[in-house]
Subunit: 406 residues, 2 copies
């Protein structure tokens, strides 16, 4: 398996586009991803009871439609808490794309991201779609433009791609995602599109995706707010020509590994670009009784405002890490826990058996001052481990969210 | 029932003191509350797996000791994650107080608040205790001094008292508390001491307290971090001379109502003085299917970073409120929810049946600019209700917590 350049247009048969339609004040605000032949579609979606109109639409399509060929996305307005009018506007968005591309409407996934509670400016969207379709292009650059068009408060676009060999054929998986606030995924993230030219059954595509998010997108947090619009969508068009994956054989596991590389990379990019973030925090909990417990512990640490504020201040206030583990819902003996922090500037053990080592605060501050900081907690109670990603809590998080709409 | 001045020294037979022993750099750091006759003791404590040494001690005493007569508290160091040495130091603190007051050691509750992971400076504490005992005084002012001595990042001390008639006798309940970070109580808050001269059995005292915290201290959040040191302690010395309350009769309910007035007032003071807070947010969810659901919904709203940051910015971003309700774990129909905001500057309906009304953003901003802001969500699905209290998320929360230890 190797990392290659590009994103959603890296696999064979996919094209993309991004335009400025006029929903937002200045930046690009609509994107389209298109497979030139029908593809299998799968998705994972927010568990929030309040689900945006496009989420409801995509859940229905994932269940009912065997062929998906396009994904249309707008940024600026989330189309959540918009009632029947919201559902109608969402349908018009899908239908307009379907008409332009000469597809049935149930071949078009939709996604929206932005302010909750406002209706889509549907005329602007309808007027934008012909241009969006006209701009469709299979170049790497077109994928990047699409990744830019789905950004909200993101400071950079997020895409990546890998290729690997399945049954003698080179298959490619590419993806794009956006963050960067209201991030505490509970099935997926807000919003990620993955494309692949691999041939795989719809059932296994869904299963691979559902299993994958547990330890990728579901292991990141920016602010503990699970969004109304979380959607992770994947299209597999089979153009690589491999024999269709219909059982959990070696091909399936190779596919899962490649998918995991793409989703992990995108998840980390979202965490690192969390609203106001100055650094990426990676927390690994090892030596746990089960992977679920390791995941709950690491995610609790990554979600703590107090831990995040301390990391922002380069302060090795490890008591807050043990405190966050303590309210994670996992039962454990605090007096077997070891804790190490790490970055490109070194490694330092802060805690041994639940109590402070005689570490140097100066060294700790130096390690925490790096752009990527790791914390590794060893429970010494088993062999399971899990990793979660988040970011620090800065003044800019407050600034961005105190006047998001103005 | 009437509000009276004072705090822990308001009830008959209680005295208190607060001194600067030298644990902190400048401010007072030790407090003592004393009943001149043996009292019944009860408490509720953090559910965090990582429990501070004084919490473990108080849990044991609450179970085993029938007579409590003193509560000694230090601020500056939490005595959490301190192992056997921490337990030993905690015992020495209780024992030194017991010796000075000529009490058995198991008549002395302890509490500590401050940095996690540091050992208590036990010599400083031992040297401080004789002065602390000498300063004991039953005046209102002595109660206030004790309330000041337990503060950490609090900007003001918190105390209140009420009196009421039980069986022809005037009984009094007084209390003091400290906040103001690591506040997401899950049994109590960090730290509250309540005193009363009412006569009540130990069992009913504990039951009254345990029931009370569910809708008082457990309904506030500053930063979603449940502390290692949460302790709510109550002493009842019977000096009011009422017939002992031993069953759930009218006297019991009068007692509970008076207790609730004290704890609600203290809980709101803690929320309003949350780290960096510029305003108190009160959220009531009504028309819910059950009180538990109303509590989960209102607490989810009050805990959302995005809601808190929007209120800091006086931005009526109500979509974040519905989003927070949506991930509370409660199932509901978003399209029956109404939402009103209120303050001394007016009242405004933002949402009807899950969607925006045609409200004026200017009016909304004016209402949100007050020092106390209310949001009332009506689920229109039942008759239950609950109220939660929190505060906004400001730059100062980040500043305070980025360099708490320095």
């Amino acid at each position: 398996m190797k990392l290659i350049s590009g994103g959603v247009t890296a696999p064979k048969g996919f094209s993309a586009s991004g335009i400025y339609a006029g929903i937002k004040k200045k930046r690009k605000d609509m994107a389209l991803v298109y497979s030139d032949i029908p593809a299998k579609g799968a998705g994972t979606f927010t568990t929030n009871v309040v689900k945006a109109a496009p989420v409801l639409w995509d859940i229905k399509l994932t269940r009912e439609s065997d062929n998906i060929q396009a994904i249309v996305i707008n940024s600026g307005v989330a189309n959540a808490c918009t009632g029947e009018e919201g559902n109608k506007n969402n349908f018009i968005m899908a239908e307009t794309v379907a008409n332009e591309l000469k597809l049935p409407v149930n071949a078009v996934y939709t996604a929206s991201t932005g302010v909750i509670g406002k209706q889509l400016p549907i005329e602007i969207i309808k007027n934008g779609i012909p241009g969006l379709v006209k701009e469709l292009d299979s170049s790497i650059k077109a994928g990047t433009i699409a990744a830019e068009a789905i950004m909200t408060t993101d400071t950079y676009s997020k895409e990546c791609a890998v290729s690997c060999n399945i049954g003698g054929k080179e298959i490619t998986i590419g993806g794009m995602a956006k963050g960067s606030g209201m991030i505490h995924p509970n099935m997926a993230t807000l919003i990620c599109v993955v494309t692949t030219d691999a041939s795989i059954s719809k059932e296994l595509l869904q299963e691979a995706l559902s299993e994958d998010v547990k330890y990728t997108f579901n292991m990141i947090s920016v602010d503990r707010d699970t969004s109304t619009n979380d959607s992770l969508l994947i299209l597999a068009n089979g153009k690589a020509g491999n024999e269709e994956i219909t059982e959990k054989n070696e091909d399936y596991h190779t596919f899962c590994k490649a998918l995991n590389t793409v989703t992990t990379k995108l998840a980390k990019m979202i965490a690192a670009d969390g609203e106001g973030a100055t650094k990426l925090i990676e927390v690994t909990v090892k030596g746990a009784g089960s992977r679920e417990e390791a995941a709950a512990l690491s995610k609790s640490i990554i979600s703590s405002n107090l831990v995040k504020a301390a990391v922002f201040g380069n302060d090795a206030n490890w008591g807050r890490i043990l405190c966050a583990m303590g309210y994670s819902g996992v039962d454990f003996n605090p007096y077997t826990v070891d804790l190490v922090i790490e970055s490109e500037d070194g490694s330092l053990q802060l805690v041994k058996d639940g109590m402070a080592t005689d570490y140097s605060e100066k060294t700790a501050t130096k390690i925490l001052s790096a752009k990527e900081v790791k914390a590794i907690a060893d429970m010494k109670q088993g062999t399971a481990f899990a990793t979660a990603w988040g970011c620090d809590l800065s003044y800019d998080y407050v600034r961005i969210n105190a006047d998001y709409r103005s």
